[in-house]
């Protein structure tokens, strides 16, 4: 079972929620798909058991074979190639590794080489498996790393919590693609509401069953409450704006492990989430 935790904007509490739910579940996988700035490992401090380099294919040209026909330049939908007087220019950052240019070249002047864009680190913290994607600084797309993370084999009875990147872009779509359920963490501010609506549209577009967790709540924030009501989105819990939770979090501690009240809180929340997931999954099974 894969549960994606997402939010429209950064800083709403995706990592707080996914780390604590995974910790409360114990036999769970915490997968950090926020490969530009993964931070779940700061809480779990996992003992690393394995690493996997993520490499992507890029075309390279043999100048002696290239006759300048430019079929590859015309073929590339991403405009990663240009042909100038001295030969072919290849833009690695723009290339999406589709391999089209290599297969279309009539002179067989192109071949693929692999270049490293990041790494996946796998480890354990208690019974929980921690999988972290780390993209090299300066790379423009983490999608291949997210694909690698979500194709790892884990024990079947472990619930996987996918800590998504913020926003509603390609990287988020890739992160929720195979998820059974979407948990949307919402910050009760105007900005939070606006971006939450965007991820809600995304979850609906992907036909993923979903619900809301509100974080940093001091009062019932009506713009979010009303939107959820209008769209029949269940609100599973309102996490209080609590200095204790904030300080545990900023010390890199997992509230569900350190504090009895929060252990109960996240265990209850886990039960609610699982009940929702099973309820939503039932009609399809």
């Amino acid at each position: 079972m894969k549960i994606a935790v997402l939010s429209g904007k950064g800083g709403t509490g995706k990592t707080l929620v996914s780390v604590n739910l995974a910790a409360a579940a114990g036999k769970a996988v915490y997968t950090d798909c926020d490969v530009e700035e993964p931070n779940g490992h700061l809480f779990f401090k996992p003992a690393i058991t394995g690493e996997k380099e993520i490499n992507v294919a890029v075309p390279r040209v043999d100048k002696d074979l290239c006759n300048g026909c430019r079929k590859c330049v015309d073929f590339c939908n991403f405009n990663a190639l240009a042909y100038i007087k001295d030969g072919l220019l290849i833009f690695d950052d723009i290339c999406h590794s589709c391999g089209g240019c290599v297969s279309i070249c009539p002179e067989k002047a192109l071949h693929e080489e692999y270049r490293n864009i990041g790494v996946i680190k796998i480890g354990t913290s208690g019974k929980t498996i921690i999988a972290t994607g780390i993209m090299n600084t300066g790379e423009s797309s983490g999608i291949p790393i997210i694909k690698g993370l979500l194709s790892l084999d884990h024990p079947k009875d472990f619930i996987e919590f996918i800590d998504c990147p913020p926003g509603s872009s390609c990287a988020v779509m890739e992160s929720i693609r195979d998820a059974d359920y979407c948990l949307m963490v919402v910050e009760p501010t105007l900005f939070g509401t606006h971006n939450f609506r965007m991820v809600h549209e995304l979850a609906a577009l992907f036909k993923k069953p979903h619900s809301v967790i509100m974080n940093k709540c001091s009062v019932h924030y009506m713009p979010v409450e009303e939107y959820c009501k209008e769209n029949n989105i269940p609100v599973l819990v309102r996490i209080p704006y609590d200095p204790l939770l904030g300080s545990l979090n900023s010390d890199g501690l997992i509230a569900a492990r350190e504090n009895a009240a929060y252990r109960d809180f996240f265990t209850d929340l886990l039960e609610k989430v699982l009940k929702e997931v099973l309820h939503e999954a039932a009609p399809h099974s």
């Binding site: 330049v73 590339c76 939908n77 991403f78 405009n79 990663a80 190639l81 240009a82 042909y83 100038i84 007087k85 001295d86 220019l89 833009f91 950052d93 723009i94 300066g138 423009s140």
Partner: protein, 122 residues
């Protein structure tokens, strides 16, 4: 020599366009014949890599120089590798800039920006 300008429209009153890769069209002026022609910029609607494709289009017109208000890193990489010189335009009038270039008044564009849309950032 041939000089290319990114322009907002394919008509006599065309103005120099703020973006190179996303310009609706290019005006190519031939200093020998003193004639100009318009080329549609098919790169303008690209999801990504517009600067690269636009630079290729401009090169295919046997252009020697580009006059533009700004230019992204990827487009500049293509143009400069092909030996095209990039000059900083002044104001929106193509005619004024041709005159300024002939008189040697235009500066070379040295401030190449990193590109937009998360691409081209090195």
């Amino acid at each position: 020599m041939k000089i290319a300008f990114p322009v907002d429209t394919r008509s006599a009153g065309a103005c120099i366009y703020k973006s190179f890769g996303r310009a609706p069209a290019f005006l190519v002026y031939d200093t020998q014949t003193q004639k100009s022609l318009f080329v549609d910029n098919s790169a303008a609607s690209s999801q990504g890599g517009a600067g690269i494709k636009a630079a290729q289009l401009v090169l295919d017109q046997q252009t020697d120089a580009v006059i533009a208000p700004q230019c992204g890193q990827n487009a500049a990489d293509v143009l400069l590798a092909a030996g095209v010189r990039i000059y900083l335009s002044e104001g929106c009038s193509v005619g004024d800039n041709i005159k300024a270039h002939t008189e040697g008044l235009l500066k070379e564009l040295s401030d190449i920006h990193a590109g937009y849309h998360g691409h081209g950032v090195k």
